[in-house]
Amino acid sequence: MAVGKSITRTEGRDKVTGKAKYIDDYTCPDMWYGKTLRSEIAHGRIISINFSDSFDWSQVVVVDYKDIPVKNLVALIFDDQPLLAESVVKHVGEPIILIAAPSKELAERAIKNIEITYEAFPAALSIEESLSVKAKIFGDDNIFKHYTITRGSVADAFQSAEIVVEGSYFVGHQEQLYIETNGVIATTKKDGSIIIQGSMQCPYYIHRAIKEIFGLSDEQVVVIQTVTGGGFGGKEDFPSVVAGHAALLSRKCGHPVKIVYERGEDFAASTKRHPALIKHRTGLTRDGQLLATEVDITFDGGAYCTLSPVVLSRGVIHAIGPYKCPNVKINGSVVATNTPPNGAFRGFGVPQACFAGEMHMEKIAKTLGISSVELRRKNMLREGDITSTGQKLLYSVGTQEVLDTVIERSDYLSRVEEYKNPSDNKCRGIGLSFFYHGGGFTGSGEEKIKGKAAVELDTHGQVKILTASTEIGQGTKTIFRQIVAEELGISLDSVIFGDTDTSKVPDSGPTVASRTCMVVGKVIQMAAANLKNEIKKLVAQKVNCDISQVEIANGQISCPDVEKLSFTQTAIECVKEHGEIKTMAQYSSPPGIKWDEINYTGDAYPVFSYGADVVEVEVDMDTYEVKITKVITASDIGKAINPAMAEGQIEGGMVQALGYGLCEEVVWRDGKILNNRFTNYIIPTALDIPEMETILVEKPYPYGPYGAKGLGELPMDGGAPALVAAIANATGAFITEIPATPERILAALEAK
């Protein structure tokens, strides 16, 4: 059995010996280096660009928007983002001029010898300023996208509610902060074709972006992923920009061009998690039954649309959490501001929604004077229940299991009472959160993408996996091998992972949305099943039996009246006779899935994963510093293909979530980030995080590979509200805006 085992990482050896090659580890003799000159202002017109006479410009190559052959565009959802600014800039850090030079130092010097003057326009730097149209950034109203979800009649239900609770919550930006910054090498061939190598999540996104910029065909663009040092969504769409820039430079200077961002530049220029203002109004019976929920969500999209509509859509769908409520109205908008575009970050709209939703549950429990556990149990979704979009949950609903597990393991019910009465100036507290996360793309997204993957039997009798799903640390290369080995009944050693190269692998869709294992893993499993069938067919022909009599298990092939054959040997012979055997599969939705894109009703996701977190803290009542002392999580992920790796995902995601709640804050002045460095944007270290208890719950999803469903994003969702609830339990300070800095704790205490 390969599935369900904690086998070690496919590329583990390379990663502990320093052999793994990340993009900055590559070089070639005639390679040049690219640098980017960016806007210094948040909104305005470029008046002049002055190239200093004291610099010898013949040594370098300069690129501006006029060098773009076909479309000055970062192709994504709306065609609003230029690859290089033309006359107007809409955010600090917007790229304007590119330089390539034979050395980094020379490229940097060239940049310093360019001076841009601007005419500044008024800038809208916050959600409020955007909505009041302080500056026109997108259309007439600055709204990129709006969604509404309606179920039942909230107006009537509020009439009959015994209690109405309102709350307003705010979350700011969060930076993905992968430790490897963005980087690519672009090479232009004599025939005009372009090769991009680099750090990325989604090779086919870059493939499309480059085709549009240069007007090239599918075959003329090749995108190859190098070992990627973390992404977390930050390398979903943004690498298209870096790749487009490097390709422009390479085309003009005739050399391969490497662009690797320095930390400060990466932080200042790349996408972040959307800030959000979320308001809840909830009507209940006196004993805590949800009757009506109204939620208003506004996301700050930044200056260009990027993926904002999709992020918003997920936020809206997850707005009321894993609870049933017969009457729902959710309004969501994403608005434009003169700040760098926000984009994908693990959780993708849900961490924002979850923070607001779960803090609001705490507020309701307090208002009603009941336990928040009781409130959650009373309203939680169970099998057969219906979500806010009208989706009936037919299977794989681990809500009760995850909640009960963390409550029990943490002794939550007695601790929460005990901590209410602090004994000294170190107050302890315990907090809970309960959440869900839809796996795969929203609505009909997976149907539109129809992700493909293949497996191929090669001349060594090995099975090679061909997919565009990338390994970015989460374990793709390992779990896909496990799935294929399991399906074929062969050893893991017989399964290898092919290069992530668009000229060799089919488009499996992007590596996002917790879809790699659940969706593409299933496609891989189907491709392997097809291969198994092909091999059986050939063997049946050979030994002259019926295909149903051929079995493959434990690396051996058995059929009646013949001695067992080795899989590898037989495979080698088959390939010798028939050539390489490749089988492909393509995603199709589980039966019965229906989604209405216009009314936003129906099956928003094929299935949800469920989680519950308990966090304990100690708050120093002199300094209001918070120490996290205990973390327990339970996650229903259907099936852990590789339990150790699943735990690793949960632990890592949880720490990002705790950072979001506790200390990660982007500081702005006039649209400029003031803390774009590790020294002043603080992420948790090993000392800030206690030992964690990670519990896996497996309620199999019948249409996932071996029952698996989404995992990657779930652990990002609930950490912040559990932490902030623990602070409330410890101190009585009810914080509605994260991170929970000492200043915010003090302010909340004073507001009491």
Binding site: G18, I179, T181, R263, A644, E647, E651, F678, A686, L687
Partner: protein, 153 residues
């Protein structure tokens, strides 16, 4: 200037600008790219190496200060066989994206050299200067603990 270095038990003489960062000399002039850059300002530990037995962030060290020094990078932690520490990192699935791991291994090796039997708290302290965004540190701490146990056995 000309700088003499002993890197992973091999002698090198390199002609470089004196203020060039040791990190860049290792990566560009020597071709040892295992040592990584995460921040370039001494905050993340991805560039950790041993200089004469102590752990240093190589992004902060001008190469001229290391003339005649003995340097160990991640490539020097093993010959053909992996060290116990490296093996434990593999066994525990301690690496995810892997970019922080070379620095982590150096920091962990330094700890085990000084304290062959560290507590989990001591391990956390020893790697507190090494940022990892992927793992949540649990499996890294596990691996170092197991390597320590293996050392004893």
């Amino acid at each position: 200037m000309s700088v003499q270095l002993n890197i992973n038990n091999k002698d090198y003489v390199v002609e470089v600008a004196p203020m060039k960062r040791l990190l860049d000399v290792l990566r560009e002039d020597i071709g040892l790219t295992g040592t990584k850059e995460g921040c370039g300002e001494g905050e993340c530990g991805a560039c950790s190496v041993f200089i004469d037995g102590s752990v240093v962030n190589s992004c902060l060290v001008p190469v001229c200060q290391t003339n005649g020094s003995k340097i160990t990078t991640v490539e020097g932690l093993s010959n053909n066989e992996l060290s116990k520490l490296q093996q434990a990192f593999i066994d525990c699935n301690a690496a995810q994206c892997g970019i922080c791991i070379p620095g982590m291994l150096i920091a962990a090796q330094a700890l085990l050299d000084l304290n062959p039997n560290p507590s989990r708290g001591e391990i956390r302290e020893a790697i507190a200067g090494n940022l990892c965004r992927c793992t949540g540190y649990m499996k890294i701490v596990d691996a170092i603990e197991i390597a320590a146990t293996a050392n004893k056995g």
